[in-house]
Symmetry: C2
Subunit: 205 residues, 2 copies
């Protein structure tokens, strides 16, 4: 029992399979990805893959969960919560837009929406580890703002969801319906600043 290294999750090739799966799922979607493709991309035999994961769905869930966690960890801690309020709002909105427009953000959303009817845990799982987390962070910040006297908010949950939606205005539909591939910095700024202006007009003191 060599406990010198941190216990590897499941076996030598576990992460290798997960990596291959992430690549293929992200580029082909859930239905579009074949298990043979995933095994090939992972550099692993199909039999090995099936020795780690009971089926394709489970494998996909694992990929989605892992990746969401990774993204959430990355995104949160480069915002200075003590900067002036408009600055903080601007930065948060920018983070959200950047995530949404990233390859991963776009694809994971597309897949979760497309499959969450035939595959309900998936939608729930994503909702819990995405939107719910974001909302919690926003509410935290709003509470500070109210305490400081910068904001006046009655329904915190609604305010958080409003800010979230505002940050995606115009960009989001164009993205999910494949009207455009990506946005310039200026296009993003227009929406982000619009969101901040609107939010402060409503909830600023």
């Amino acid at each position: 029992m060599p406990d010198g290294t941190i216990e590897p999750k499941k076996g030598r090739k576990f992460d290798q399979v997960l990596d291959g799966a992430r690549t293929v799922f992200l580029s082909d979607g859930f239905e579009g990805a074949s298990v043979d493709d995933i095994a090939r991309a992972a550099g692993v035999s199909k039999a090995t893959l099936y020795s780690y994961f009971p089926d394709k769905r489970f494998l996909f869930m694992q990929v989605a969960k892992t990746e969401c966690q990774r993204q959430a960890d990355l995104a949160i801690e480069n915002i200075d919560m003590d900067a002036p309020i408009r600055q903080v709002l601007h930065d948060i909105a920018t983070e959200m837009v950047d995530f949404m427009t990233s390859q991963f953000g776009k694809q994971i959303f597309r897949i979760c929406v497309g499959e969450s009817d035939r595959f309900p845990e998936l939608g729930r799982e994503f909702y819990e580890s995405g939107p719910v987390m974001i909302r919690a962070k926003l509410i935290d910040f709003f509470e500070k703002g109210v305490a400081r006297g910068d904001l006046k908010i009655d329904d915190f949950e609604l305010a958080a969801e409003q800010f979230h939606e505002l940050s995606k205005a115009d960009l989001f539909p164009k993205l999910v319906f494949n009207i455009v591939e990506d946005f310039t910095h200026e296009e993003k700024e227009r929406v982000v600043n619009g969101a901040v202006d609107m939010f402060m007009a409503r909830y600023g003191t």
Copy 2:
């Protein structure tokens, strides 16, 4: 040439096929729906179906387009554009929420998002006949509001997209990720009123 009746679109069973297709696509999605199922639901042989439509995608596009048109026609003309501005905004937001939460609205969105990667015309088609139409209507109304002195707006497009997004706050994610099936009138009112309040705080005079 009996022109007494309005020219039937293509043949006796055209609409019958379309109806069956709508039913099956809406309940099973695009990939999930089999052409055999559709033919069965339409009460038509597969050969007949293929004599009307070249392939499954074309059939789906036809269903989506027809249904969007139908919904758009229905929704638009029961709003009194000359009522007080908050009233009009409230009514428009309510229409949008009702559409979004309808079986058709939910499913067509889910399918278009899920398939628009492998099937790009679909996304574009839906965007043009959905969000773009809504935005145009909103901008029309905003222009009237500005002329009347009720509103002050610089970026009309952005304002329209913002109002659209605000009207879906909180409700939309819960729907597409299958957290809830439907909303009460009160739940909808909370969001709709929140959208109107926010919009007027920013753009009201």
